[in-house]
Symmetry: C2
Amino acid sequence: MTAHPAAQTVGLRDRKKQQTRDALATAALHLVAERGLENVTVEEISAAADVSSRTFFNYFPCKDDALVADHSVDSARFLTRLAQVPPEVPALAAVRSALGEMIDRMQADRERWLLRMVVIERNPALLPRLVAAGVETERTMTELVADRVGVPPDHHFPALLAAVTGAAFRSAMLRWAAGDGARSLSDLVDEAFETLAAGLPDPQPAP
Amino acid sequence: MTAHPAAQTVGLRDRKKQQTRDALATAALHLVAERGLENVTVEEISAAADVSSRTFFNYFPCKDDALVADHSVDSARFLTRLAQVPPEVPALAAVRSALGEMIDRMQADRERWLLRMVVIERNPALLPRLVAAGVETERTMTELVADRVGVPPDHHFPALLAAVTGAAFRSAMLRWAAGDGARSLSDLVDEAFETLAAGLPDPQPAP
DNA sequence: GGGAGAACTTTCAGGTCCGGCAAACTTTCG
DNA sequence: CGAAAGTTTGCCGGACCTGAAAGTTCTCCC
């Protein structure tokens, strides 16, 4: 037996895969951060990660996804959480609650996520990609919410809630990056959701 | 002098340009509607509009833009309207009010807009494009709103309001198309904005 | 251990997207 | 009419992305 009898669930193979994926994403983020999206090719990213450019596409369906997607934050877990929130909790609060775990994981990966958001901010072409990453999630979320509040799936509320909370979350993420992570993401999301719950009233101009 | 002494502001040249642009957009929408986004090339679209494929790119920066962008609904006018709404009107209501004109124009172009939204619905890759079309608008909108409510530009409210109203509007557009335009877009947008103003409370399950 | 087979990577070929360039053409204006 | 300005077009090349086939690396089971 080798010196590592434990850690059986993940073999060498999976560890290498994760490494490669990580190397590609990291290389992509750093290169784009310093040169801009247009001035970085897939070949350069692949070279920096020491793999062929064909391999790049085995991991990411397109260049942008290497910058925006993140395996560690998979939406399936968020949806599971959402389904688990007790049904008497209002939908908006339920969504906020279910986001908690995802937010924690993002804070744990603080460094990388801040870089990611800065890259997105400086390359607006990526912003739609951020939406794309959530579009399938929003669809499922719509169904979950319809179920939860007991309205037909073509009612306007579930789709509106999904779209609006998605927008609010993105807004908080961008704000997080803009402040370089000075305030916690959790706080910023809370602030946004409270404003939503209050019906988006005009804020006080000056105290 | 010719038989058309009036209509001086637009010459033959500009009229032709508008025609070409329109032909390209129309061809793109119809082809994609029947074959799907992947199975339509720029060459085919250009051929259908009787221009070279090189000309296509003189009008649209990429294939998707021919499907999503619309010259008749330029956001500059919306922003102008927004700036004109009296400052005592709360920001959320002001946005709804400023959207009115755009909505009217979309209803006038009902046919084309419904087709467009159906195409987007059936080709989810385009949905992020719809966001992209509004991203610059949202940025300006953020500044306008900050100004209007008298908070610094890095306050969370303006960006949140811009993102959220954008999402709500898109949600209403998709709903409009899903119902094949049975209910007026104006109604659907009102419904969404009222729900926003109420703080997104859970709807009544059944009467 | 050791080999059969699965999984991953690489190379290669090819289609589509998209932008720069300069020549031909069309409209506008003096 | 003729010059100026704008538009269309073909040509070319780089970049993105995909399929197929061949080569390499890991896993599993004996």
